[in-house]
């Protein structure tokens, strides 16, 4: 049971990395961002390239992968998302989905369809009280918690963070103060993309890597964002870990049903608290 809880925490941490970007983009720009899959998957593939190239140095590869994703995120924001502000949600949905299609095909073009194996970069186990927990997963959970506090400080203390939080509440109000909101939206989008890449990079060693890997994870993180509330940062944190727990507990008793259970929870949440968007 301890293992189940621990695996739930790991999955929750990964879901948190990915959904925070979705939640922020939705809260500020009112854009449902399917292109998130692409920053996530590209991050993983770049990591693989770097790890193959550098042989063993995983952290450097991870940092380089995240840094490479930042300009890609900026390009997507600048040329696709920025044109969609104020459009109906359907069109943003379709346009970002189109970006995801293009990205998946580009990945298939560059890296091929074949799944890549990538092993646990640390591979040691931490033993205490008769339990052996993989250190790598502990590190993931710790990074998630640090990130949560880091983001909280960022949004409460820094001026950029404060502007973004204000824009989550009332975009037009912030614009009336003479602040160019678009610039901050672009920062938020790039931040979200980089965090998605971080999630991908950390998740890759404990899952399989293939061009369509982003899609199923994205559906899960949509569920996280809906359960946690669109644009609600603390809600996203809680719901990511709660759904991670739902997944790992379901998987313990009924392994194929794990992902479906998340959608059932999401459907129940939507029934009792429909979101007007």
């Amino acid at each position: 049971m301890i293992y189940t809880i621990f695996y739930g925490l790991t999955i929750g941490a990964i879901l948190y990395f990915i959904s925070i970007g979705l939640s922020l983009t939705f809260g500020t720009m009112r854009v449902i961002n399917f292109a998130h899959t692409i920053t996530y998957t590209i991050g993983v593939y770049i990591l693989i390239t770097f790890v193959n190239f550098l042989k063993w140095y995983f952290p450097l590869g991870a940092i380089l992968a995240i840094l490479t994703v930042i300009p890609i995120g900026y390009v997507i924001e600048r040329f696709i998302i920025r044109r969609l502000y104020g459009e109906s949600l359907d069109y943003t949905f379709i346009a970002t989905f189109a970006v995801a299609l293009i990205g998946v095909d580009a990945i298939k073009w560059i890296w091929g369809v074949r799944p890549y194996p990538i092993s646990d970069p640390i591979g040691t186990y931490l033993m205490f009280w008769g339990l052996s927990l993989p250190v790598y997963r502990i590190i993931i959970v710790i990074i998630a918690i640090l990130l949560f506090f880091g983001l909280n400080i960022f949004f409460k203390r820094t001026i950029v963070g404060k502007i973004v939080v204000a824009a989550l509440e009332d975009k037009d109000g912030v614009r009336c103060l003479g602040i160019s909101v678009d610039k901050y939206f672009s920062i938020v989008f790039v931040l979200g993309s980089a965090l998605a890449a971080l999630g991908g990079v950390l998740y890759a060693p404990i899952s399989s890597v293939h061009p369509y890997m982003g899609l199923s994870v994205l559906l899960l993180s949509f569920a996280v964002v809906i359960v946690g509330g669109m644009g609600n940062l603390n809600g996203t944190f809680l719901s990511a870990f709660a759904l991670g727990m739902v997944m790992s507990i379901t998987a313990r008793y009924w392994s194929q049903g794990a992902e479906t259970m998340v959608f059932i929870v999401m459907a129940i949440v939507l029934i009792f608290r429909p979101i007007d968007i």
Partner: protein
Amino acid sequence: MKKELSLDEGKAPCDKPIDLLAELRSTPIKEHGVIDLLGIAAFFLVITPLLSTHRITDFMIFCIFAMSFDLLYGYMGRLSFGQMLYLGTGAYFCGLFIRYVSGNPLLAILAGIAFAGFLSMLLGLIIVRTTGACFALINLAFNHIGFFLVLSPLRGITRGEDGFGVSASKFGSLSLTSRPIMFGFVLLCVLLVFYVLRRLTSSPYGILIRSIKEDETRVRFLGYNTFYYKWLTFVLAGSIAGLAGSLTALNYSYVNPNAMDVHSNVGVVFACLIGGAGNLYGAIVGGVVYMIISNLLPIYIYRWEMFLGFSLIIIVFRFRTGVWGYIQRSWEYLVKRKVVPGAMKKEAI
């Protein structure tokens, strides 16, 4: 939801449920209604020699599906990313009916439609409450659940990934296993669906659902129970998708989970957009164009997914009325008239 909901409870003077059958009977038949049907039939008959009969049958089934999606998206403005669920339900129940109950193809099709309709009645009660992205995502979630159910817990009945064969027996002289008869039958179905949807969408009911697309709150202020009409439209779209599913099962004589694949939903969205959403002709043109792209393009262009992505972006940014809107505009330009005869009023998108 908002407080205005309480308005529904008070009986406003025009809160009279619209009877769909009465609508169908009372709308006058316009003289070009027949010409349109003949035109569509001629269109499919003309393109048949260019490709094989089997392929065109497939195209026509997809057109039925595209029309069901268009009713939901183009007319009512609700983008669903899970319409495949109802297609798959139709296909599975049609197949199971033939397998376990009787080989009569017509009864099997009815069973497929009935079960898809029933499922959309149940799920519609939940789904229809949401709008926008939530509507799309909750549909996607249910589709995912359906796909999973078929694949794994119901493996005993559905045979999981392998699927099962469907062999319909003869019904009188109607043997749907022969290609030309299947072709004719599907063509009749396309015409029937087109006719029914056309009559419905040009009736007061159609105007109502298009008003819901424009501004639901105002429709509610007028005293209409919008929930009921949204639900009705959802069920109608689900049933028609079920018809398309049943026909798919009979056409391939085979059902497998691909009929419910979550990722195939993009296809129908794309078909509707490329043809022009909010227009039944658009759905048919878009359905055929999409099928040609997805069937023939991979032979010539290896990166066809990328092509699809770029064309979707171009459609969203530049070309929102789709192929049919373009044809309509050119026609207007040629005829130099404001309204095109025979065509529906163009939706403001």
